[in-house]
């Protein structure tokens, strides 16, 4: 085949909402040749998923196509009859979704969901399809494929489910695959394994692919060519090897500089302090208590240990990163420190010993603040921003000579929000703005330590960069220490002095961020983690737009 496999030519799409129309895709042209993988990168609202739905011909009811062509192997996709379309989907054109847990039907066996594609598109009998399915599952490196066929989705891990979906997508030897953030819902190490699997399958089958993601660093590793989408417009398309080193468009440059790069440290050394701010001694958290019937049957082991005997210290103005996958106990640590969950062991803060949440007095509550992952959940939807910012001021007092109204306005200004936001409700703000309010609320208590629990995980990368910049600025001004919990190793290597690596409730290693590259990690899990994280593919260091000094 000579021509491109997938051609998108001057494609324009609108969404109709009431009387107004919203342009989602504006004059998009993009070709994918045989065997090529094109990465499509954009932030939320850029229209990248809409393009995937348009290609799959699965548009929402209010979508209006305003023009352009979509062709697969020269065949016009927009003009296909529904029966031709059904024959094409899942055979020559297949798609893989973000969340593998949601993309598998919970009440059908894995085998049925793999085999039905073969029955549908290759006319196999159920028996033949089942046998092929076993082979397919073996082909994506799933252990004991026969048994796997008879299982149900809830019995599989996230990585295993994504493997099943990949095997289904490859089942009928597609010409082109569309990946929509296929590793976003997975932990770092499973994601790396899925990417390795895709690389292998791609070499074996010579498939073309459109790989959609918000993660520029990851896409630069996976794709041959990267296309950048900004609010429905394709601003740049360049070879993956040069997108980081020589971004042409202004938006790409901003995006590139916002991508966390461990080589670019944003933090200075902490002021050497003799006394520790916070000492954690053998901290443990466990959930669940055995019910009546469980005790009757002598099953007392229903509780799960979320955190085991964690010991660490934190100095004033120090930034300690905590990394680990979900279930590693990092959030339990945060909850225990602010008294949201019962704990065992001791917390020593400024010389005072605490052995339970009841011992956390007003002074401790003021000094230790927390910012949560989802500002949607952590801000009360029925209170105005001003009321919520005023709470810590009421509880812990105002600065001398300042009225409450002034203080609220000042804190909004400190997080670079206009003062009139005080009279708004949270739902009137964007995600990044809401997180700034949450940060302002924490700082309004004038804390010595702020615990940040995945505070940028729900934000776009450019918004994340500004939030991080804000945090570092606030630290400079107020001398605050951070316990920065995240799953993003690249990010935490930029901003933390030390990094605590957690795995299944244990602190496996405490590493020094500045010297990590030189010395390396000692624990095998840390090494695996470092290996699995995709770092930006860079020729030479890009100019930094952030203010941190390396």
């Amino acid at each position: 085949m000579t021509g491109p496999v997938l051609e998108i030519e001057r494609y324009t799409l609108d969404y109709q909402t009431g009387r107004s129309t919203l342009r989602v895709l504006d004059d998009i042209s993009l070709d994918i040749s045989a065997g090529e993988v094109v990465g499509l990168v954009g932030e939320s609202g850029s229209g990248k998923s809409s393009l995937a739905w348009a290609i799959m011909r699965h548009l929402a009811g209010n979508a209006r196509e305003r023009g352009g062509q979509l062709r697969l192997d020269g065949e016009d996709l927009r003009g296909l009859s529904s029966s031709r379309l059904q024959a094409l989907r899942g055979s020559r054109l297949a798609m893989i979704f973000q969340d593998p847990s949601a993309a598998l039907n919970p009440t059908l066996s894995i085998g049925e969901q793999v085999a039905e594609v073969l029955v549908r598109h290759q006319g196999l009998s159920l028996r033949e399809a089942w046998a092929r399915g076993v082979a397919l599952l073996g082909g994506v490196e799933l252990k004991s494929p026969e048994a796997m066929m008879r299982r149900y989705p809830h019995e599989l891990s996230g990585g295993e489910k994504q493997r099943v979906l990949i095997s289904t997508a490859f089942a009928c030897r597609p010409r082109c695959l569309i990946f929509d953030e296929p590793t976003t819902a997975l932990d770092v190490i499973s994601a790396a394994q899925i990417l390795a699997l895709f690389t292998r399958l791609r070499e074996e089958t010579g498939v073309s692919a459109l790989y959609i993601s918000h993660d520029l660093a990851l896409v630069s590793r996976v794709a041959d060519r990267v296309a950048i989408l900004e609010r429905g417009r394709l601003v740049e398309s360049a070879p993956a090897a040069t997108i980081f080193s020589a971004p042409a468009h202004e938006y790409t440059r901003r995006l590139v500089s916002a991508v966390p790069d461990p080589a670019r440290r944003l933090i200075d050394q902490p002021p050497a302090s003799a006394t520790a701010l916070l000492e954690i001694h053998k901290l443990g958290v466990s959930y669940g208590r055995p019910g009546f019937v469980d005790r009757l049957f002598g099953r007392a082991s229903e509780t799960t240990q979320a955190l085991r005997e964690l010991t660490m210290t934190l100095s004033p103005a120090e930034v300690v990163g905590v990394v680990g996958e979900s279930g590693s106990g990092k959030s339990s640590l945060a909850k225990a420190l602010v008294g949201l969950t019962p704990f065992a062991g001791e917390i020593r803060f400024e010389g005072r010993v605490l052995s339970n949440a009841a011992g956390m007095n007003r002074a401790y509550r003021r000094q230790v603040q927390m910012v949560f992952q989802h500002p949607d959940a952590s801000l009360n939807p029925r209170q105005r921003i001003g009321e919520q910012l005023a709470r810590p001021l009421r509880l812990y007092g105002l600065a001398p000579g300042e009225s409450e109204k002034h203080a609220v306005a000042r804190w909004l200004e400190e997080v670079r929000l206009p003062a009139e936001f005080a009279s708004r409700y949270p739902h009137e703000l964007s995600g990044g703005q809401k997180q700034r309010v949450a940060i302002a609320r924490a700082f309004a208590a004038r804390p010595a330590l702020v615990i940040c629990d995945e505070i940028t995980a729900a934000l776009d990368v450019s918004v994340q960069a500004t939030v991080i910049e804000l945090l570092l600025e606030l630290r400079k001004r107020h001398g605050t220490a951070y316990l920065f919990i995240t799953h993003d190793l690249n990010l935490v290597r930029q901003i933390a002095h030390r990094i605590a690596v957690m795995y299944r409730g244990d602190l496996v290693e405490m590493i020094d961020a500045a010297t990590l590259d030189a010395r390396g990690a000692s624990h095998p899990y840390t090494r695996a983690l470092l290996e699995a994280v995709p770092r930006p593919l860079r020729g030479h260091p890009a100019p930094s737009s952030l203010q941190g000094t390396p």
């Binding site: 602010v338 603040q369 209170q383 810590p392 509880l395 609320r441």
Partner: protein, 277 residues
């Protein structure tokens, strides 16, 4: 609140429901003055008149004007149902929120007991209570209240539990707020809306249940112009004068539809996130 009202009136359910209930409000407030005849006036010559120009909805076996009786009876039927639901809502919201906030043993015992109460169908529960306390309108209200409480507790608890798990409650606890503040200022405003929605829909059930009790002779007593009772009294003259049964029956159905529609409309309108963005 004006925003929610606008949103309510923009949805077809909310609009129709609001119009029906506005009409009901007029009936409740002004019914006796709007009535074309004295609702108790008997007339031998005017018996069994079918609906027409003189008597819009006809007359009954004693020659009483049915339209007037319905207008006057609106007060009893609607107000007593509202009272029963309102009481059940208040008690249920308090118990349910307490269950969610306290958790543990208290919650478990409470919920199992509510399950037990729910296993007695509400009509039977009402029968049981009315048979004990005697037949009267107020006893029927009490019976409906008691039989509605378990359902309201369940709903309040599940809503409160979902809100309690939200991080803004965690943030308040971590900030060192008092329990009283958290329950009254953080939690309650967020659980009030869904509970009010549920209660609105339940008023429809209350109206039907109250009318059913009266119909069975266990609620309002003759000669009260209660709608369910009117249907019951008309049964004997069913084949001669079917409108005697139909008119109050349709009135019950219309009001119940109004509350059902308004409840569904409110559900969308009171969601703080269904706003502009």
């Amino acid at each position: 609140m004006p925003d929610s009202l606008k949103r309510l009136l923009r949805s077809p359910q909310g609009m129709i429901g609001a119009v029906i209930l506005l009409a009901c409000l007029v009936l409740v407030l002004l019914g006796p003055w709007l009535a074309p005849y004295d609702h108790q006036a008997l007339s031998i010559t005017e018996r069994y008149r079918p609906p027409g120009a003189e008597h819009w909805l006809g007359t009954d076996q004693l020659g009483r004007d049915i339209a007037s009786r319905i207008l006057v009876g609106a007060r009893a039927t609607i107000l007593l149902s509202l009272l029963a639901t309102g009481l059940a809502m208040l008690i249920g919201a308090m118990l349910g929120t307490a269950c969610a906030y306290l958790g543990g043993r208290f919650d478990e015992v409470m919920m199992r007991t509510m399950d037990a109460l729910m296993s007695i169908p509400s009509l039977l529960f009402a029968l049981l209570i009315v048979s004990t306390l005697g037949k009267s309108g107020m006893n029927a209200v009490l019976a409906i209240t008691v039989s509605f409480i378990p359902g309201m507790v369940r709903i309040a608890r599940s809503v409160a539990l979902a809100q309690r798990r939200q991080d803004y409650v965690g943030a308040a606890i971590a900030r060192g707020e008092s329990s009283l503040w958290i329950v009254s200022r953080e939690l309650l405003p967020n659980i009030a809306a869904p509970i009010i929605v549920e209660a609105t829909i339940r008023v429809a059930f209350a109206i039907m249940l109250f009318a059913t009790l009266s119909f069975l002779g266990l609620g309002a007593q003759p000669p009260a112009p209660e709608w369910g009772l009117m249907v019951a009294e008309a049964r004997g003259y069913f084949f001669q004068a079917p409108w005697m049964m139909l008119m109050p029956g349709l009135a019950i159905a219309l009001v119940a539809i109004g509350f059902n529609l308004l409840g569904d409309g409110l559900r969308d309108a009171l969601n703080p996130r269904s706003g502009e963005r």
